[in-house]
Symmetry: C2
């Protein structure tokens, strides 16, 4: 295992230390239980947005804490759900009296623990709503999931709902918007290589030099099929097609197109995928009106990409364009 780490069991704590040192203007970091909150939390009268999940997907979620996006993030061990006490403490820390929204990727552990945390927070008098993200069209049920997995759409949801909360919308409005986004967004990913979880010390799976996995999950969960390597254009088609047919999208739709790196895939390759994706969508009359290109929801050093499409309207676009200031996404400020 070749990694820039010290002891595998210290990876998350040491990462948090780095975040704390680098981004004190944006966030406060708490330890035991571990969570990251906006530097100015709790913001009085504002809905608090809390997300979290296993570490190893950086910059998600910790890198999305800040003005215009999340109020708090709870990092679990690598590829392991955070615990209810992390979520409870984060919820309490960001409650500004307008309630707290939990954005939960659909993994059994995350869902269960966020439910528990929501119940505990409610028992302490905090109004909590939860929204599940399950945008991955690749498979129904998976290694750690009943139903579809929550993947790339989470990033777009956190940005857009973050902007809505920032402009003072109510908890119900934020939750409704998040559910609407979940209904209008779809993703699919693929891997060229595996990744290695630090405390495991060996690759999560084997993938021969001439094969790839289509429909992979962000923890290396099996996808739809393992097939011989194809050119980028063909791979892009294999990702776009199931997404577009699933919703379905229709001619005239406007979308945010998110081309994500699983971690080890460099930007130069993402732009090749992006160009082909735009072309394929244009042929279907679907117009890309905004984009996100880069490593935003990663699987450690896995090579591969995922594509997310979100059908947007005027309102969502306005919120997408709104200022955001986080370590992982920043514009307008």
């Amino acid at each position: 295992m070749k990694k820039l780490i010290n002891k595998p069991e210290d990876v998350v704590k040491e990462e948090l230390k780095g975040i704390e040192l680098a981004h004190a203007d944006l966030v406060k970091v708490y330890y035991d239980p571990d969570f990251i909150v906006r530097a100015d939390a709790p913001v009085q009268g504002k809905v608090g947005l809390v997300s979290g999940g296993g570490s190893g997907h950086e910059p998600m979620h910790g890198g999305f804490v800040g003005k215009g996006m999340l109020d708090a993030a709870c990092p679990g061990a690598v590829f392991t759900s955070p615990t209810p006490d992390q979520m409870l403490e984060a919820t309490k820390a960001v409650d500004g009296g307008a309630g707290v929204l939990h954005i939960v990727k659909n993994y059994t552990g995350d869902v269960m623990n966020f439910e528990m945390a929501a119940d505990m927070a409610r028992a302490e008098g905090i109004e909590v709503e939860s929204v599940i993200v399950d945008d991955d069209v690749a498979v129904e049920d998976s290694t750690w999931t009943a139903g579809r997995r929550g993947v790339g759409l989470t990033v777009l949801m956190e940005k857009i709902v973050g902007a809505a909360a920032e402009e003072g919308r109510s908890l119900k409005e934020c939750a409704d918007l998040a559910r609407k986004i979940n209904g209008q967004g779809r993703s699919m990913g693929m891997a060229l290589t595996s990744c290695t979880v630090p405390h495991v010390g060996k690759p999560s799976f084997d993938l021969p030099e001439d094969e790839m996995e289509i429909g992979i999950g962000i923890h290396g969960e099996p996808g739809r099929h393992r097939i011989p390597l194809e050119p980028a254009d063909k791979i892009t088609e294999m990702l776009i097609e199931p997404i577009v047919t699933d919703l379905p999208y229709k001619e005239g739709d406007e979308v945010v197109l998110f081309v994500n790196s699983m971690g080890g895939t460099p930007l130069i390759e993402l732009y090749i995928v992006y160009a082909k994706a735009v072309e394929l969508l244009a042929a279907k009359g679907i117009k890309v009106v905004r984009h996100l290109i880069g490593p935003y929801i990663t699987s450690l050093e896995m090579a591969g990409t995922s594509i997310t499409l979100l059908k947007v309207d005027e309102e969502m676009l306005k919120l997408w364009d709104a200022p955001v200031k986080t370590a992982g996404m920043r514009w307008g400020i």
Copy 2:
């Protein structure tokens, strides 16, 4: 070779197509010869900043074209110098009457071709100055370099001098500032794995599973030594020490600390390196006042990191903080 590409020889052109489709609000892309310029180029009365080099280091340089940073970038084939005609056309395209500054990383091909382009541009009546970046303390002379290599400091220079040009400074002032930055900045990198140039099709070098290369160049050029793998803290020390002793820095100095991913190293590991670097610098009385953490000058999918330190004063900090709007770096706009 596992990459999201089509034909290896089309990688750069197809990447440019993606950049053109994604960032039409920021840049214009020209083909044959290939170069990228600010969407509003030439900006009348403003010094034009042109850089370039082999592709494979994305987002550098194309991702740094835009308001507050570069006016143009010339991408060569992967790890191959761009040609003088690319540089000449880019120079002409961004000349707004106040002259053009070439920012050149110290690689023999880049230096020679930029010199030729500068001469040709001058022959056409454009005032051109050139600044060489040679911040890599690892080795004197290298595979493609006489003297020290130009690496991470280039990113900081392009940001700071970009801001200076944006606020209307003269060509001489911009060039002097760039040379001052080159005098006050130092870098060193290391690799855990090799990378594969698409048109070569096999890894640039072999690095056994239990070894790393300290002092590597951004094209995989040999470094100082190849030694057994060490923990991140020890590696950070091996990079910081030669940087700090080279200049030298002294107690009370304020610096920008740039922890870069060579491409395949995820953010979670960069924060671990960052935390240790801050601690080591603090022990020497050196204060980190700004930072940059992420993949900004990469070597395709190589795993590894580089550290750059730039000693800054009030003026440089003000320019660092100035608004920038590019695909690869953005704040304040």
